[in-house]
């Protein structure tokens, strides 16, 4: 479609909106209601322009202008909203004339008559679309001399989001966002006309993706409560990095000021998270600035931990390790360590001559698909999806990309100015094609409400489920399933057969699974085999941000008995980075017996309190490095300016130790670690663009050593994935208030049996670990099973709780009183 915009002629594909044509041509029009990746609705009327087009005569030829002989341009009688108008062949667009300017002035004036103009005290000031547009397209004068509308100025929509109803300009982005992106319709306009305001019917915003509305609000009406009144936009240092709270690799913008992280916003990565992040990633950073953060190394002198320099701490480690042989020393990192830290850890293990190296949590089965891996774009364009597990908690962005697939609109092509502002294929009140999606889990998960088929199978029954599906996939004609297989399906055989057929017939089927399947090798093998049988691509959701990368790099033990947590028993000395296994009283006793314990962490955890040397760690926001997300995309992690004292990441730790040992270890610095990565992956981490690089190096050999298979536990607790990082929840005050702390979800019958009630604070030992939680009685939990969120030391899957240890905190208090 040839379009003439002011003085520029350009070609656009059919269906392009005029506003995108204007921006692509290098011109500007103001707009408030359109938003990337959301439906254009033409509500703010700021983007009006004068538009004309030639017309065809009845015989199909252009009607010509009698004077010029050119096709005559027929202008629309009214100014047209360019966001809701498609380009047409020969269209003429005028955004610069006096007529257009007059309408724009008038529209700015209308928009401002009820806006409080409290910019000096508004957090959005300096980054406000309304402010910018008023300067650019307004007259600077208002002729409205009446009282402005007065409404609530500090309305808490939830613990995390505050709404200022006076500032709202009714662009409807937030309402549409909830309807179209996560599909949780929790907000709407209330009242009408000049009295219209945004609100909810019930208090709170029940969704995992609420924070995004603070990013897209064009004014300061919707603000992130955690960062309200903390700084001005021009004072923040913006650091683009990668979200480290799950395996999705979402792009984030970390806004820091005076050595603190004030807020995290979503950044654009069109193939990963688009412009959305989940609330765990957005609001889960407050722990970084907690008062009790470790800021200097400490060594135990006379039974007390005392602050020392890094040199002294490193020398102590060198001296204490010198008497030990390699097989006595264990090294374990948390699975959100960067690839560079992984290189450093491997170098350190080699220098110490130990094979006891691991990252945790590391599931029993591999997180790297053995065949046919799915990218997030594959998922977003899939025509059949099976999810086993709870992706909304495990890697929330996967949930959103599944909803892209359900909407059935393929990701837009980028234009000269980036993501199209008004993608006319997107419609308000979209239809989610639920029939594409099947969700299976041992309990009711959030994504089930969007699933055409939702089934609950018995916890721990993943192997049987995939086995039965495999039998259906293999069967020619009438499938024969035995009683056990029928029970494992959680749905009728006909339903299951229909599902298998749908997957086989699909052009682009994706099988998504996470921790529940990865918990046993058998389940993972049967899932992978089923995926192969129906020709589905695999998307495996690993437990943490770099589970994929650390496995790829081979940060693992030389023998399965050296794996974490077995090394806690087998070694005489331990170096633990960001892990806190001493929550288990048995492990605690074991650690007390160790010759030497080094803990590298942010806080003085229970484990750190036992340590001989405590080294202050950098948080995930303070590191530079590289991670690999669940699709195999290498993504850069960049350090935000956070005041962390003398804290160091694992590279710094290895560098200091190497210096003390007098060795030049690989991974002593970022540069040296990256030299190793360049060789290992044929990819330069320094050259990774902001969108990363989807790069699946051929695995040279299966570097992976499995965790020793455990006896199948007769579980009474299902450890579930959680969007919130439970290990830091106590130090994230806003998320703590929102969630009420880690919850032990229990069926009413079991609650009665255990004599606990909703809201009780309890503690009990689950799989050895002493866990504290708040009881939530919920009849959607399967009877005989309790649900408890995961910790790095307690991977997702079935676990055994010792119910005799169940104690109510109140009872403790009574005793104490």
């Amino acid at each position: 479609m040839k379009v003439h915009i002011n003085d520029v002629d350009m070609d656009f594909p059919q269906g392009t909106s005029v506003i995108d044509a204007i921006f692509a041509a290098g011109y500007d029009v103001p707009y408030f209601c359109s938003q990337e990746y959301m439906s254009p609705i033409g509500a703010c009327r700021m983007c009006l322009a004068r538009i004309g087009a030639p017309r065809k005569d009845k015989d199909g030829s252009w009607i010509l202008d009698e004077e010029t002989g050119e096709p005559k341009i027929f202008y629309f009688p009214n100014m047209m909203a360019t966001c809701t108008t498609q380009v047409m062949e020969g269209m003429v667009v005028d955004t610069l004339s006096e007529d257009v300017k007059r309408v724009q002035n008038g529209m700015v004036e209308f928009t401002l008559i009820n806006h409080p103009l409290d910019c000096p005290v508004c957090d959005k000031g300096g980054a406000c679309e309304l402010q910018d547009r008023s300067y650019e397209y307004g007259t600077g004068v208002s002729r409205f001399d009446f009282d402005k509308r007065h409404q609530e100025k500090h309305h808490p929509l939830s613990e995390l989001i505050t709404l200022d109803r006076e500032r709202c300009i009714h662009c409807k982005r937030c309402v549409r966002y909830f309807e179209e992106v996560p599909g949780d319709s929790v907000l709407d306009f209330i009242e009408r006309g000049g009295h219209t305001y945004i609100g909810t019917l019930d208090p709170g915003l029940p969704s995992n993706f609420t924070g995004n509305i603070t990013d897209i609000c064009p004014v300061g009406a919707l603000l992130d409560t955690t960062s309200r009144f903390r700084g001005r936009n021009w004072e923040y240092k913006h650091t683009r990095s990668t979200g480290m709270d799950d395996a999705s690799g979402s792009a984030v913008m970390i806004d820091g000021r005076t050595g603190r992280i004030e807020r995290i916003r979503a950044a654009l990565n069109p193939e990963v998270n688009k412009t959305w992040i989940d609330d765990g990633t957005r609001f889960g950073h407050e722990y970084v600035d907690a008062e009790d953060r470790l800021r200097a190394p400490m060594i135990r002198k006379d039974g007390e931990l005392q602050a020392v320099t890094w040199e002294e701490a490193a020398a102590t480690v060198r001296d204490r390790l010198s008497g030990l042989s390699g097989k006595d020393i264990g090294i374990a990192l948390r699975a959100d360590a960067t690839l560079e830290e992984g290189v450093a850890a491997k170098a350190l293990a080699e220098a110490l001559g130990t094979g006891q190296l691991d990252h945790a949590p590391r599931p029993a089965a591999s997180v790297v698909p053995a065949q046919n891996p799915a990218s997030l774009t594959d998922l977003a364009t899939a025509d059949a999806i099976v999810v086993v597990g709870d992706v909304t908690e495990e890697a929330p962005i996967v949930d959103l990309r599944i909803k892209d697939a359900l909407k059935g609109v393929t990701p837009p092509e980028l234009m000269q100015h980036g993501v199209p502002i008004a993608d006319l294929r997107l419609k308000e009140h979209p239809v989610f094609h639920r029939e594409k999606l099947t969700v299976a889990a041992p309990y009711r998960v959030d994504l089930m409400k969007h699933a055409g088929r939702a089934l609950q199978y018995p916890a721990g029954g993943e192997t049987a489920l995939f086995g039965a599906l495999q039998a259906l996939a293999d069967a020619e004609g009438e499938p024969e399933l035995d009683e056990g297989q029928r029970a494992a399906l959680g749905m009728s055989v006909e339903d299951a057969a229909a599902l298998v057929k749908r997957l086989k017939d699909a052009d682009n089927a994706v099988l998504v699974y996470g921790g529940f399947v990865l918990a046993t090798r058998e389940a993972a093998a049967s899932a992978s085999a089923f995926g192969k049988a129906v020709g589905a691509k695999l998307m495996i959701v690993g437990p943490m941000a770099n589970s994929y990368g650390l496995e790829l790099l081979g940060v693992g033990p030389s023998h399965e008995r050296y794996a974490y947590p077995d090394m806690l028993e087998g070694s005489r000395a331990l170096i633990l980075s960001n892990l806190d296994p001493a929550r288990d009283p048995d492990v605690r006793r074991m650690l007390e017996q160790k010759d030497f314990l080094v803990v590298h962490d942010l806080f003085l955890t229970e484990t750190a309190q036992l340590a001989d040397v405590v080294l202050p760690a950098k948080s995930v926001y303070e590191k530079d490095g590289t991670v690999v997300n669940l699709e195999g995309r290498f993504l850069g992690v960049h350090a935000a300016p956070v005041e962390g004292g003398e804290s160091q990441d694992f590279i710094g730790l290895v560098g200091a130790l190497g210096e003390a040992l007098g060795q030049r270890l690989e991974g002593r610095s970022l540069r040296s670690a990256r030299r190793v990565l360049r060789k290992r992956f044929e990819l330069d981490p320094v050259e990774l663009g902001p969108e990363g690089h989807l790069h699946r190096p051929r695995s040279r050999q299966s570097a992976r050593v499995a965790i020793r298979s455990r006896e199948a536990v007769e579980g009474n607790v299902l450890v579930t994935p959680s969007m919130l990082r439970i290990e830091y929840l106590e130090r994230n005050p806003h998320l703590l208030r929102l969630s009420g702390g880690p919850s032990l979800r229990i069926h009413p019958d079991d609650a009665a049996l255990q004599n606990v009630a909703d809201g009780d604070a309890v503690q009990l030992r689950v799989g050895g670990l002493l866990r504290r939680a708040t009881v939530v009685v919920d009849d959607r939990v399967p009877p005989g099973l309790m649900l408890l969120p995961t910790l790095p030391e307690q991977p997702v899957g079935l676990a055994r709780a010792d119910l005799s240890t169940l104690e109510r905190a109140e009872r403790e208090l009574e005793v104490a009183g």
Partner: protein, 449 residues
């Protein structure tokens, strides 16, 4: 000048039944006791048109007949009905829907009300024919929430028709399926706009939707939908019975058939009158309604959203059709004439109109929410409080100009255009109130004999 008798009883609408010059077609049963029963309707030739359409004509023949009649939608916009029906996509297995817009909420319009109250079967018959033409098996009537009696009569009539086999799987003994649901609105003017009506039917907020897609492509629940006005449907009954030629023989060049005109305001016999298209305002106002009670200075030609015209011969003698009014800078709208008496101050009268639109603005788009719904009523309050200035008048004109043609749906225009027309014809009254601090006319009691 007319020999028409006075109104029979106050509660009954006056129709032109008593005027020998015009035959009453759509309103022939209105005002007759028990006309709303199936027995009455059948004994007066009811459902013969539907039987004829379903047994002797194909759906496309019905559409062609309606096209040939040149019937234009009676809801206000005047879009040719047959053409609208032919926009429905080919049958593809999806549910197809016919929706009747009975959300008659334009001030000055009350023609549909009496059909639904007194002759609901006529509407049902028209809907059966419409459904057959567009091959829809499901029809809905979106009736204005305030029309309680009409709603009850319609529900009863639909039940009667269903029990008699007129609705359901086998309409009138054929294999055609049609069923009707009656849905009550919740009291929003904007829900008379077809896309807002669809949102409201789906249980969503009554906000207008983006067009395209037009209802024929993606209407209610995304299904192919045709939306017609009540009297469009009842016109179809008579087009089928008497033929397109009969219908097209009446009216003017661009506007055919008969139409129900309504007249309100201080005239001797306000009511609904069925006249051929193109009858003049003078005929309606003087011959049928008996003329204004006192001196008049202007009138709204087709409901409160149409720009008012001054009381001049050139306008009074203008034919009431789509084209002539367009040329005069106004619109036929729903044909609801509202007479403005001379002693009603125009500023106060327009404030009344503006308040209505201000209250009914849905709040979706900026010019309507902030201009029409917030700013404009405040300006009128200022004028009426005697605090206005000449600059305020210029400001009002400029602001109204900014609201016109810039809003998402026609509601803002429906308010802006009458206001602009009032400035055009009666600016002296606006100037009087700002110069003197009080209105030119102060009469407020309109109830004396």
């Amino acid at each position: 000048m007319s020999d028409v008798a006075d109104a029979p009883e106050a509660a009954r609408p006056i129709t032109s039944r008593r005027d020998p010059r015009y035959e009453v077609v759509m309103y022939r049963h209105v005002g007759v006791e028990n006309a709303w029963t199936l027995d009455y309707y059948r004994s007066h030739g009811g459902y013969e048109a539907a039987t004829k359409a379903l047994t002797q004509m194909s759906p496309s023949e019905v559409i062609d007949e309606v096209k040939a009649s040149k019937l234009r939608g009676r809801g206000g916009a005047g879009f040719p009905t047959g053409v609208k029906w032919s926009f429905m996509p080919p049958v593809d297995g999806r549910q197809r829907l016919l929706v009747v817009n009975a959300d008659e909420s334009e001030p000055g319009s009350f023609k549909d009300r009496y059909i639904m109250e007194d002759d609901p079967h006529q509407l049902i018959e028209g809907m059966i024919i419409g459904c057959y033409a567009i091959q829809a098996t499901k029809a809905m009537i979106y009736i204005r929430g305030e029309y309680v009696k009409g709603y009850q009569r319609l529900v009863d009539a639909v039940r009667e028709a269903r029990e008699a086999g007129i609705l359901g799987k086998n309409v009138l003994g054929t294999d055609v399926e049609v069923d009707i649901t009656v849905h009550r609105g919740a009291g929003a003017y904007i829900c008379g706009e077809e896309t807002a009506l669809m949102n409201s039917l789906e249980g969503l907020r009554g906000n207008p939707r983006l067009k395209p897609p037009f209802p024929a492509q993606a209407g209610v629940y995304g299904l192919p939908t045709t939306i017609n006005n009540v009297t469009t449907m009842t016109s179809v009954v008579h087009i089928i019975t008497r033929g397109a030629d009969w219908f097209a023989s009446m009216g003017t060049e661009d506007s055919k058939g008969t139409k129900l005109y309504q007249i309100s305001g201080p005239v001797k016999r306000p009511g609904v009158y069925e006249l051929p298209m193109g009858a003049s305002f003078r005929e309606l106002i003087y011959d049928l309604a008996g003329g204004p009670k006192g001196e008049a200075k202007g009138f709204f030609p087709g409901g409160s959203s149409t720009p008012p015209l001054p009381w001049k011969d050139e306008y009074l003698d203008m034919p009431m059709d789509y084209g002539s009014l367009g040329k005069a800078g106004s619109m036929l709208g729903t044909g609801g004439v509202i007479v403005i008496p001379k002693e009603k101050d125009i500023v106060d009268a327009m404030y009344n109109v503006v308040r209505f639109y201000a209250a009914e603005s849905c709040g979706k788009c900026t010019p309507c929410r902030e201009g029409i719904s917030t700013w404009l009523p405040k300006m009128y309050q200022k004028l009426l409080a005697g605090l206005g200035t000449r600059e305020d008048l210029d400001l009002m004109e400029d602001m109204v100009r900014n609201s016109r043609g810039t809003a998402f749906c026609p509601l803002a225009d429906a308010c802006a255009m009458p206001v602009q027309a009032s400035f055009k014809w009666f600016r002296d009254e606006y100037e009087y109130i700002v110069d003197h601090g009080r209105p030119m006319y102060t009469k407020s009691d309109w109830w004396e004999a």
